[in-house]
Symmetry: C2
Subunit: 781 residues, 2 copies
């Protein structure tokens, strides 16, 4: 039980945080109101979100109490991260802000700076952001707080994440799905999430759904999600402090009890984790009315409740009253530092939520112990004559990565890990599943390194939370469905971009996507499953953050996979096939090729290292197959034609070096592609992407790209290539059309190619499968 | 109560549908098993999803019973649309399939064709798809069934949508959020959705969450979502038929009761709508075991349970037993037609779910009654001297569109309609909100034309359902957050692409996006809210489907808005500002400009209609502003410089005509942009997009694009332009760098521009707002 005196101090702390929050939104100067408030003390542009802020501060103050009382290792995820002032205010109150940003000192001068910089050009963002100490959660796009919180506690048995879920955010799909994360939490080896559903009733301009259903229905919903809801409701601070303190004590007792039962007594039954419902007014403690309209406890308090302070003396006066209502003179000493009582209310050192190393995961990051990927190499023989399933081969490597890193590496997948043929990982681990398990289940267990749920949002959110707290992982997805998390990828890439300029944020493991079951091999599923456009989304983010790899075969995938698991602060996208496909490179060749990222395949070329007549470029497994088959055909048909084969693994090599650190210098690009010869480029994705990357190159005018042009259905692999003019025969026709030295004498060859396409298409439509000459084709040279 | 005889007939119908489903997955020939099954009767590639199919068929048969008993106007949305064979089988059984596709006749020959075409090259997809009669829901990407179902019943008071939600799909975020759609349904003017949560227990390779929580918890969850769950569980067909019939009768009684109370007795309390939980085995009635492993009621029945029938005689034999277990000889007559009893079990005409016109919404589409958009014109005066808020102006037009179309036009938005300054619509309507309303609420009502929920997924899903059933609408969103529905956009665009080739699918209204609060004006919110990349996603879809408009001012937005509301079968993306911005065009000029989509602004140009020295191109409101300000500066500084201003409204005009129907012929492109003069292009989005569109143009080598390069934070509008080198001074510098005739003599001008940028940046950082010379700038000429 919290003492009255403790609650009184807690209230002071809350008032201080509220005061600092309002100050950030409004004040340019006079931070401690040592003189009457004047127009010149006010910012010219008033920006920020007050509405959610006092509730976030309320929780922060109460969490500090229990952290100190129980010596908790706790971080705070603020779903309503629009309330950026709250996070900044508390970090400053705890002293962390001044430690991280010494310019913003722990005194009146620093407070002025703290206020001025907020949402000010050259200052800090208005939301919780990478710049905010103590945060792993950006406050812009809503919906991911709870998934981040769960990601953070996986494999962190001693960590508790307090996660405030806004009732606006709670309407989003990703958040609605996230409640079920408790079916994937192991009370023995994972920590605990304490969700605080904050019903302040309003969004920007609307009431919220969960605040407007009967309490009985809300409780049913939260019960149904598998939680034990504890209700805290009201608006009178003193009684709210008592209720919140009691609820938090109960919640933490319940968490401790669940963990003790599981850890010490081997309890295996899934228990209901506690959850707090905090129903408090939006804009709590702010202006009750402005210009005769209700503001507190309405959507009008969402942003800046007194918008007229620059022009309206009455507003200015009301702002001053509001600020003084927190009694700053009791809260800050003559130097502008929080008084001793407040300073002592904050936890110490790394127990401060703003300074907890879990919220700066790079501090805790340990490199993965990686087996030598070369040991998993496929024996290839002559190029293009043996086959392997690339992702299955990678799965053997990942299996041993799991074995060597039993507590800091996880694989996420939307029910597709087996389908993507990574199934060998189940020799080393299971899928986590905390709901009921049946004897007929396979590889479902209370603990495991593979997390599967039919929600790309959850996979992504969990993995982000896991990485941001200093661990490693991989998200495997069907290629088309990774678009479901386009927006989440964008936000994570933005986060990484900003952290690059924050030296105190230590590098974290890269977010690795393995996209399989890709556009060209959706034999079962058809058009809805055919979309290689995630690469285009990725390319829009800052070049220093993103990497895209298209390994053409199993050995190259191994090399790329190893590289990605070692990298930091990137988003790596690897596109790889799962179907049996020809091997092109020995392990040594694959390492060299993957390291260069792009290169001439001399063994496939017929230009003798000299000037070619045509460059056949390819990126992606199916385009590589079709290109090589086309080259084979060309070499047989036109022995004198000098063909050069260039394969691209690292797509960023195509960009100029001014645009991407991997960009190939122009001279090297020209040496590979020539400046004057036709280039037929067979690409895995939408063809425009290659033009977008290469439009500045000298040879660009000669570049002709084939790729996916949004044609498809449930059909055979070769029929897919034909539908999109990516097939070997069309590539030969492209060469014929573009190499003038072949002249008119080749019209009959062109016709033969066209006829073979038609015949093969007819065969497929007759027999329901590709002709043997396609299925069994191997490289001749 | 259903009679035993009725249930016996119903079982026959179910067996027939199951037989036809298995036949589709396996059989090339011998469709009625008139001879023993042989290897040659089997498809070489076995593709399809059996697991969910018998459950879908079970529901279909039962729904048919109640449709007939109650003369219901009902359509069927199959969330687990992987069970494509079910939809096809029932459409054929009802005769619809043969009416739509006469080649697939209603006899043995047709049945053979039906089987053969399924998931066969040149045939039909394996999922429920646009090709499937009776469907408004594509069965590929999971999560949108319930939102589609609700969208379909809005403003369709007599329609009931039965929506099967798979327990896999139920794990997705969009579906989890969709349950709350019942808070947005008006029992008076909307129809009813009957969700059938189908717990068959497994996904591809995993158990499902909802099937593995205690029934009590599941009931709490569904209660908490505001439904009244009716449970139907078991695996013994006869008893399951009785339970399902009783549950359906009860559900439809409850629906009728809720509707009667609201419609006839004016009841306003939100009631619990019924929901059926159907717990039946995955792969029900299929092989119980294969090769000693359990298949029925496990994930192993997900796709093709007997995968070895081509090679393994035992499998072939087991398949034949399985097929014969449905007793086809009782179900089909000598011609292969369903026996009379079955034919009579199906509803008649448009009551058949496969033939219901709501599932082919174009049949019901009525054009909008549109007021003359010219009446809402802003009076402009001299170009670039007066201001308007473009979306606010559009809002006045939309207000009257709503008034003129009170039952078939809705606006969706994620709590952003007011923020996007479309607030004038609330003069004509309210926001729909069926949860508790308080006296302090504004514009919340049981019925209204604006739907706001903090879920882009719901907005998009509802609108898709609404459009696909033949109505009209608009989705307004913050530009950055529309990425949340990238994947849903992709799927809808794919749907439209396929329907283009299905003449029986009548054109529907376009899906219109209004993207405001865009990348350049996120003064409040910063970096997370800055992302113009949706345009890149859109460009990847089939050109005949997608349109992108960037009206530079209010009048042009009106013209574009009107055009979009009249269009059919497109996705229109309109990007427009909400902040006060300069007006450039009179209404007449705006109409002419929007109609051409691209054009020279002679009044702004100084080339006298002759050969320019430089082309200043722009697309988007902020880029247009900065371009005109740069041109103003150029004309003052270099009076002899011949500058041409080209503004682009319709981005597709930049593509070659071979690539897009709007593509400008090369000669016209050259006439606008020249082939040899520098083009400085200021673009709203990521600059690469312009290169991607224009790389084939003659003048492409001279094209220099400025746009958003992923730099931003919470800052002023002009600071955003500077951060991304899109500001007027940088554009002037770009001209100086690229127009050789200006020569070395201009070094001092370049320096002056650079200095002004620095000075203005410093001003902004000092004062927190842009300098007056920026804020108050107007066009001089």
């Amino acid at each position: 039980m919290a003492h009255d005196d403790e609650l009184r101090r807690l209230d002071s702390y809350w008032r201080a945080a509220n005061y600092l929050s309002v100050g950030q939104i409004y004040l340019l100067d006079n931070p401690l109101l040592r003189e009457p408030l004047k127009r010149r003390h006010i910012k010219p542009r008033l920006l920020g979100h007050w509405g959610t802020t006092p509730g976030l501060n309320f929780c922060y103050a109460h969490l500090n109490r229990v952290i100190r009382a129980r010596d908790l290792d706790m971080i705070y995820v603020m779903g309503p991260g629009h309330g950026g002032p709250a996070a900044v205010a508390n970090a400053w109150l705890e002293g962390t802000y001044s430690e991280v940003y010494p310019d913003v000192s722990f005194d009146e001068r620093g407070m002025r700076r703290l206020f001025r910089q907020f949402s000010f050009p050259g200052g800090v963002p208005s939301h919780v952001a990478p710049e905010t100490p103590g945060s792993i959660h950006e406050g812009g796009e809503l919906g991911y707080s709870l998934a981040h919180a769960f990601g953070a506690v996986f494999d962190n048995p001693d960590l508790v994440v307090a996660c405030v879920v806004g009732d606006g955010e709670a309407e989003t799909g990703p958040l609605a799905a996230s409640w079920h994360s408790n079916k994937f939490l192991d009370p023995v080896r994972d920590g605990a999430v304490l969700p605080i559903l904050h019903l302040n009733g309003y969004k920007i301009a609307n009431p919220t759904v969960l605040a407007r259903i009967p309490e009985e229905e809300l409780v049913q919903l939260l019960d149904g999600y598998g939680y034990h809801p504890l209700l805290v409701a009201g608006d009178e601070p003193a009684s709210m402090h008592r209720k919140m303190a009691a609820a938090l004590d109960q919640a933490l007792d319940e968490i401790a009890d669940i963990q003790r039962a599981a850890r010490e007594h081997g309890a295996t039954e899934r228990r209901r984790w506690p959850l707090i419902v905090l129903r408090s007014p939006k804009g709590w403690t702010g202006p009750v009315e402005v210009d005769g309209k209700p503001v507190e406890n309405t959507w009008r308090s969402h942003q800046v409740p007194l918008a007229g302070v620059c022009d309206d003396p009455a507003h200015l006066e009301q702002l001053e009253r509001w600020l003084r209502s927190y009694r700053p003179e009791e809260l800050f000493d003559d130097d502008g530092r929080p008084v001793a009582e407040l300073r002592e209310s904050a936890p110490a050192g790394e127990r401060r939520m703003s300074a907890n190393p879990h919220a700066n995961g790079g501090l805790l990051l340990k490199p993965l112990v990686l087996p030598d990927f070369r040991d998993y190499a496929v024996q290839t023989g002559k190029p293009g004559t043996t086959t392997a399933e690339p992702t299955r081969v990678l799965g053997t490597f990942l299996r041993d990565v799991i074995r060597a890193n039993p507590t800091n590496f996880r694989i996420m997948g939307a029910d597709e890990t087996q389908s993507n043929r990574l199934g060998d990982v189940f020799e080393a681990t299971d899928r986590v599943f905390a709901a009921e398990r049946l004897p007929t289940d396979e590889h479902q267990a209370a603990h495991g390194r593979v997390m599967e749920v039919l929600s790309e949002h959850l996979c992504q959110g969990w993995l982000e939370g896991y990485l941001l707290t200093g661990r490693h992982g991989l998200f495997n997805s069907y290629e088309a469905f990774v678009h479901i998390v386009d927006a989440m990828f964008n936000q994570h890439a933005k986060w990484l971009k900003v952290t690059r300029h924050l030296p105190w944020r230590r590098p974290i493991a890269s977010l690795n996507y393995l996209l399989s079951s890709h556009v060209w091999r959706q034999d079962h599923n058809g058009f809805t499953h055919q979309d290689p456009g995630f690469l285009d989304v990725v390319m829009n983010k800052k070049p220093e953050i993103v990497r895209v790899y298209l390994p053409p075969d199993a050995n190259t995938l191994l090399s790329v996979g190893d590289h990605c698991l070692r990298s930091r602060d990137y988003v790596n996208v690897v596109v790889a096939g799962k179907q049996p496909a020809l091997n092109w490179l020995t392990m040594d060749e694959a390492v060299a090729h993957a390291t260069r990222g792009i290169g001439i395949w001399e063994w496939a070329s017929s230009d003798g290292g000299a000037d070619p007549d045509v460059v056949m470029a390819c990126a992606g497994d199916v385009p590589t197959l079709e290109t090589l088959a086309a080259v084979d055909e060309l070499r047989q048909t036109f022995p004198e034609l000098r063909v050069r084969v260039v394969n691209v693994v690292d797509l960023m090599r195509l960009l100029p070096p001014s645009e991407h650190p991997h960009g190939l210098p122009d001279a090297e690009f020209d040496a590979l592609f020539t400046t004057d010869k036709p280039i037929i480029f067979a690409f895995h994705g939408y063809p425009y992407l290659i033009h977008r990357l290469a439009y500045r190159r000298n040879g660009h005018a000669n570049l002709h790209v084939r790729g996916y042009k949004e044609e498809g259905t449930t059909t055979t692999p070769f029929d897919m290539a034909i539908l999109n003019d990516l097939d070997r025969f069309h590539l030969v026709m492209d060469v014929i059309d573009r190499v003038p030295s072949l002249g008119g004498r080749v019209a009959h060859v062109r016709q033969r190619m066209a006829d073979r396409r038609l015949a093969l298409r007819a065969h497929t439509r007759e027999h329901g499968e590709d002709a043997p000459e396609i299925r069994e084709w191997t490289w001749s040279y």
